[in-house]
Amino acid sequence: MFLQHLLNGITIGGSYALIALGYTLVYGVLKLINFAHGEIYMIGAYLGFILISLIPAMPPFLQGNVILMMMVVLIVAAAICALYGFYLEKICYRPLRGAPKLTPLISALGASIFLQNFVMISMGAKDQIFPQTIGMKTITLGGVSFTLLQLVIIFSSIALMALIYWFINRTRLGVAIKATSTDPYMASLVGINVDTVISVTFMAGSFLAACAGVMIGLYYGSINFTLGYLGGIKAFTAAVLGGIGNVPGAMVGGFLLGIIEALGAGYFSSEYKDVYAFFILIAVLVFRPAGLLGKGVNERA
């Protein structure tokens, strides 16, 4: 049973981690909680849904190859979502740089309400059922049962995380993001275009969130326009758990949260599933205020 819960936890945790990365990246460069990020994730799920329902209209060579088709869906949905991230920053955050700290938070909440209702109006308030496409057959191996889809999800999340890790540490833009999070002023002095860096950060975060959205949609089989709220909060919890602003921290935090939830739901009570995350969060913050992977400070004031 333990392994079963663990596997389910890892599946969900991977998505939490992907969304949490978006929070952490943005927090790193702007020191801002992007509260509309959960809605980007929700929009990603809907884009995935729309694209999958378009499959019958696609060219036959695509329809034949399930894996290729899923790749196309994932990439297109994520690319469109990256644009959402780009415009979100441009419209809601950029005019507010240097404004009082709570101001961008409120406009983020406004954006969140706007996007939710936009999707509700255009797609309806009902749950949308994902077409069952790939890998729904259950495989049982040593008492642990899982679907092929679950494996694909786990591997894709890990691959995406590796990709973002590579992006941050090995590419020019990634290094610029890193530099900007450490010291935006110095970064601008050495010729980094901070505006571009911020846009790219939002796009990268939204890209990952959209992938998470599509995968979660496929995994649960149905999506709703309110999906972004809880997903967003939990991913944010995961980001804080690992130490917000810390990229490996967000990954660890995401997996940890997924596993804790799955174990809690499995061994105690599933009604309180959402509570465990918050209790763990409060406990971690009280004993390690900078998060699990954050650095300690000895300032007392």
Binding site: N298, E299, R300, A301
Partner: protein, 261 residues
């Protein structure tokens, strides 16, 4: 430690992630004197203030104020015991008026309770009026009385420094720590601050100053301590310190000691 020592530290140390910012500094400040702490940038002077006032938790050593150990106390307890400070990176309450800024410093001397504040009882009005009167006196002491109803964010750099001093004095401290009170000021303003510090001492308040301006340091200090790399490298009267080879050595490459006037 002798009876006239009001503030003493005993091998005070602060370590940041393996780096020793302060390595066992022992000093003693005598009642009623003006003491300066000098040293090159990064010598650990501000860290020393932070460790003494409880803003940082010292990693070793002890601090005594009037014979009482204050090593493990928080900044607010230390302040209540009569140790006030100003900040190098100015920290005025930007969205409050000057008068309110100083009134915050009077907080520990205010007696009226919450119920009195809600009911606006006579005791509350008396208390407020008395403290406002005191705050105005302090503002006029630093020359800001005319601007008392302006928001602190509208002040110039020099005025902010004055406001910080007034605010710290509002505590009625026995020891006042000033972190670079004249940095960035012109000679006229510096002269004003020097006079101000003398006046503060005349009120019986011991003053400890961190400063780079050698004209000020040599002009008003009774004694000088010199810090370098978190360690005490010299102490003595101004002319002794100026002639000390270790001090000259520490300043080489950085700034040089300005000649005394």
């Amino acid at each position: 430690m002798t009876a006239s020592d009001i503030l003493t530290t005993d091998s005070l140390s602060v370590t940041f992630g393996g780096v020793k910012a302060l390595a066992g500094v022992s000093i003693s400040v005598r009642q009623g004197e003006i003491l300066s702490i000098i040293g090159p940038n990064g010598a650990g002077k501000t860290t020393f203030f932070n460790a003494v006032t409880g803003a940082y938790a010292p990693t070793g050593g002890r601090v005594f104020l009037s014979g009482r150990e204050i090593t493990d106390m928080g900044p607010d307890q230390v302040a209540r015991l009569g140790l006030a400070r100003s900040f190098q990176n100015l920290k005025p309450f930007a969205e409050m008026t000057l008068l309110e800024n100083v009134l915050v410093g009077r907080e520990i001397h205010m007696a009226s309770g919450m119920l009195a504040a809600i009911l606006r009882s006579p005791a509350f009005h008396r208390d407020e009026a008395a403290q406002k009167q005191r705050a105005r006196e302090l503002l006029s002491f630093v020359g800001l009385e005319q601007r008392r109803d302006q928001l602190a964010r509208n002040l110039t750099y020099g005025e902010r420094k004055m406001l910080e001093i007034a605010r710290a004095l509002a505590l009625e401290p026995s020891v006042l720590l000033l972190d670079e009170p004249v940095a960035g000021m012109n000679p006229t303003e510096t002269g004003f601050v020097m006079e101000l510090v003398q006046n503060i001492r005349r009120q019986g308040i011991t003053v400890v100053i961190i400063e780079h301006d050698m004209k000020m340091v040599m002009g008003i200090s009774d004694r000088i301590y010199v810090l370098d790399h978190g360690e005490l490298i010299a102490e003595g009267l101004p002319h002794e310190v100026r002639a000390n080879p270790a001090v000259i050595e520490a300043y080489l490459g950085g700034g040089t000691l300005a000649p005394a006037h």
